[in-house]
């Protein structure tokens, strides 16, 4: 069973990396890129099939370690 945890920098937290990527895209000639935010995609392989507790377990993992709730939001996707 595969799952993914997407970690994003909270909207109110400055993301200098995203700004640098946006400027680089501009330099490459891509027009109209208003903003870029860089996050993380964490792919997780879990033993067995999905069970009703899986999403909650993954959210616990994200909250405990994969994301820092002070500066990041996360989203869990099953069966990625």
């Amino acid at each position: 069973m595969k799952a993914a945890v997407m970690v994003r920098v909270k909207p109110e937290v400055l993301d200098p990396q995203g700004d640098a990527v946006r400027r680089a895209l501009e330099k490459l000639g891509f027009e109209g890129v208003r903003g870029v935010r860089v996050g993380k995609l964490i792919e997780i392989e879990i033993e067995g099939d999905a069970d009703p507790t899986l999403k909650a377990r993954l959210e616990k993992m994200a909250d405990a370690m994969l994301a820092n709730p002070v500066i990041e939001d996360f989203e869990v996707k099953l069966g990625a």
Binding site: V13, L14, Q17, A20, M65, N68, V70, I71
Partner: protein, 234 residues
């Protein structure tokens, strides 16, 4: 009277433990070390120091992997007993990840690794920062030192006198130009713990602690903690 004892905790990937041990020793502490896999601190530990470096290669986030190390439970228990804990640079990042200090340290606003001397001003008195408005010169060496916290947390830190140090210029003026990483409110160091017994800061006081290093301002912070512990024991 037995001397105060400082334990320097070593996580894999740290690189500032030698100067931390030496500075603690020069300030009067009896020093020892603990390894990240230890589950207890050495007996009679008064102060735990978590030095700088790149614990676990900064994987995931600075300090994120270190927080699940076996020794962290012992550091937390020490802090909850009122014991002193000092985190410098990566040590500060580790203490925020562990929740011993509120907030988080994020990528410098301008994306560069900053390695230079800066000035900091004592913004709140505490065991490591005895005199308000004292200005100290200390080096920084970090890419992720931009202090972030929610407006509610910032208000609480200010209200409780936990903003220990702020970046400033040589005259003590807190300006945007003197803020090397874009930290909110120019925050360089923050107190945690019930009695401000936990301090995290991004600058390296242990690298400005004897004349051969270009200055001794950093030594004042360690001497203050040592004096405070001596008074407490007396």
């Amino acid at each position: 009277m037995p001397s105060s004892r400082a334990t320097v905790v070593i996580f894999p990937g740290l690189n500032a433990e030698t100067e931390m041990l030496r500075t603690l020793s020069l300030a009067g502490f009896e020093t020892t070390t603990a390894w990240h896999t230890d589950t207890e601190l050495p007996a009679r530990t008064d102060l735990v120091a978590v030095p700088g470096g790149f614990s676990y290669g900064d994987y995931l986030r600075c300090g994120a992997i270190a927080k699940v190390s076996p020794i962290v439970g012992a550091i937390r228990a020490h802090a909850e007993r009122g014991g002193f804990v000092l985190g410098v640079c990566n040590g500060f990042q580790i203490l925020t990840e562990c929740g011993l200090i509120p907030g988080a340290l994020t990528q410098n606003a301008h994306m560069r690794f900053e390695c230079k001397d800066v000035f900091v001003r004592v913004h709140a008195e505490g065991p490591f920062t005895p005199k308000l408005d004292t200005v100290w010169r200390m080096p920084i060496a970090h890419a992720e030192g931009r202090y972030q916290a929610t407006p509610e947390t910032l208000a609480r830190l200010e209200g409780e006198g936990r903003i220990a140090l702020v970046y400033c210029d040589a005259s003590g003026a807190v300006t945007d130009a003197a803020n090397p990483n874009g930290s909110l409110r120019s925050i360089a160091g923050v107190y945690g713990g019930a009695s401000k017994n936990v301090l995290g800061l991004m600058p390296h006081p242990e690298r400005m602690s004897e004349p051969a290093l270009g200055g001794t301002d950093g030594a004042r912070l360690f001497e203050a903690a040592f004096a405070h512990l001596g008074k407490r024991a007396a």
